[in-house]
């Protein structure tokens, strides 16, 4: 199986098959990231496609230089979500999202938080874009502080501070909903 680096190298030479393999590898991660940011499955699918389309258009300009391909994809996805928000000027719709989810918070430790998934998503949608990024990348995608720092173009210390503020804001929003 070719390594990511080999695939990226071939894709930068406009090798559609190599790009297709990268697409298969990262489709779900990018979709999940966008889904939690826009809160709507249809919009998430559309924006996921656009992310890969942008990636294909710009792949010739991609240079690794310490930034993994997936980090570059997350940045493209982030920019598209920001554009989407600017053009839509409307609140995030969550009805479709809620249809697909079930209550996953069940342990005793979590019972006190009394969260439901929809409330959590609505709260995430009300964070600042940077806070949303750190929350989704760290806790939904399960990335390390270091990986999040690379993706967001910040140092790890800044990510830890941002993580703290994001969790505080999220908790406050959830508390208010209760």
């Amino acid at each position: 199986m070719p390594t990511e680096s080999e695939l990226v190298q071939r894709a930068t030479q406009r090798d559609a098959q190599a790009f297709g393999e990268l697409y298969q590898r990262y489709l779900k991660q990018i979709y999940r990231y966008i889904f939690y940011r826009v809160g709507n499955a249809t919009e998430a699918e559309d924006l996921t496609e656009q992310t890969f389309l942008k990636a294909w258009e710009a792949i010739g300009r991609f240079r690794e230089q310490g930034v993994p391909f997936i980090a570059w994809l997350y940045r493209l996805a982030h920019n598209l979500v920001i554009d989407y928000r600017r053009t839509r000027h409307q609140a995030v719709s969550l009805e479709t999202a809620c249809d697909t989810m079930d209550q996953a918070v069940s342990s005793e430790e979590l019972a006190a938080v009394r969260l439901d998934v929809a409330a959590l998503q609505q709260a995430i949608a009300r964070l600042t874009p940077e806070q949303q990024q750190v929350i989704i990348l760290r806790f939904v995608q399960g990335l390390s502080h270091g990986d999040v720092a690379v993706i967001m173009g910040k140092n790890e210390g800044a990510i830890r501070g941002l993580q703290h503020r994001a969790l505080e804001s999220l908790h406050a929003l959830l508390d208010r909903n209760d």
């Binding site: 979709y31 999940r32 499955a41 699918e45 342990s107 979590l110 806790f139 939904v140 399960g142 501070g161």
Partner: protein
């Protein structure tokens, strides 16, 4: 970065790695426990979110859609290139637009005629690539998963017929190719219907329609099997196995929702 940020990060990492529970972390830092607790609980709730995945239908259709999007993005630059060849674009914009429009209309008419002629073409015909292109365009331009599944079923009908004819004509190479294409399309259609809940009338209609067509295709393949040379026989048998597997799945989906087997207004006892 404050020391609280560090403590929070340490606790989050330890909990994520399974090296500590929330309560253990709070006991480790009693002075910060009050501030830490809600943050750690919120993080735990986030980590407990169910994994979200794009729908199977999206995943199945996405590569084709992306390929079409990429292709459609190429067209503007190609048109721009053609326009630049015509030259003097700014000065003659209006006439150029008219010329391009005329060319597009003419090309569309020619293509429509060719596409019509290609409908019944077989793999050994020069028009066969046009038929495949028309099918790809149909799939790509069908906006709805249920309708797309029906388009796939139509394509499968075509591939079944073509495989049978190619086998009859002992054209084994093309029989293999059309059969391969059939199996690919079958898996795309199956990916769509796999997650279709049968408790909606329109979905149930789709499942019944697909079952009908699959049974007809199965019968054609079975008939073809008798005249299939030994070296291609395993391929056809494997295809028959996949058809049967899809049929079994559709049947179990239909059986899972019994509410629609009997119209709700009719008492159950009336129907035998």
């Amino acid at each position: 970065m404050s020391s609280f940020d560090e403590i929070l990060s340490e606790c989050l990492n330890d909990i994520e790695a399974g090296q500590a529970t929330i309560e253990e972390c709070l006991r480790r830092y009693p002075e910060q426990a009050e501030a830490l607790r809600p943050l750690l609980q919120t993080a735990a709730a986030l980590r407990a979110l169910p994994p979200i995945e794009p729908s199977a239908a999206f995943q199945a259709a996405a590569p084709t859609r992306l390929a079409n999007l990429i292709a459609s993005r190429r067209q503007p630059s190609a048109r721009l290139g053609a326009a630049l060849v015509f030259g003097q674009m700014r000065r003659r914009r209006a006439s150029l637009v008219l010329r391009v429009a005329a060319v597009v209309v003419l090309a569309s008419c020619l293509l429509a005629g060719t596409a019509y002629a290609a409908r019944e073409s077989l793999p050994d015909s020069p028009l066969y690539p046009v038929k495949l292109t028309v099918e790809r365009v149909q799939v790509a331009t069908t906006p709805n998963d249920a309708r797309r599944a029906r388009v796939f079923v139509g394509v499968m009908d075509q591939r079944t017929h073509e495989t049978a004819v190619m086998l009859r004509n002992s054209n084994l190479k093309q029989a293999r190719q059309t059969n391969q294409s059939y199996v690919r399309t079958l898996s795309e259609a199956a990916a769509i219907v796999e997650h279709v809940p049968a408790n909606r009338p329109e979905n149930r209609m789709l499942l019944l329609y697909m079952r009908d067509r699959l049974l007809a295709q199965q019968a054609t393949y079975q008939r073809a099997l008798s005249s299939t040379p030994e070296q291609v026989r395993p391929l056809i048998q494997s295809t028959l196995g996949q058809i049967q597997k899809t049929l079994d799945r559709i049947n179990s989906q239909l059986a899972a929702d019994k509410s629609l087997l009997v119209p709700s207004a009719v008492p159950y006892g009336v129907i035998s």
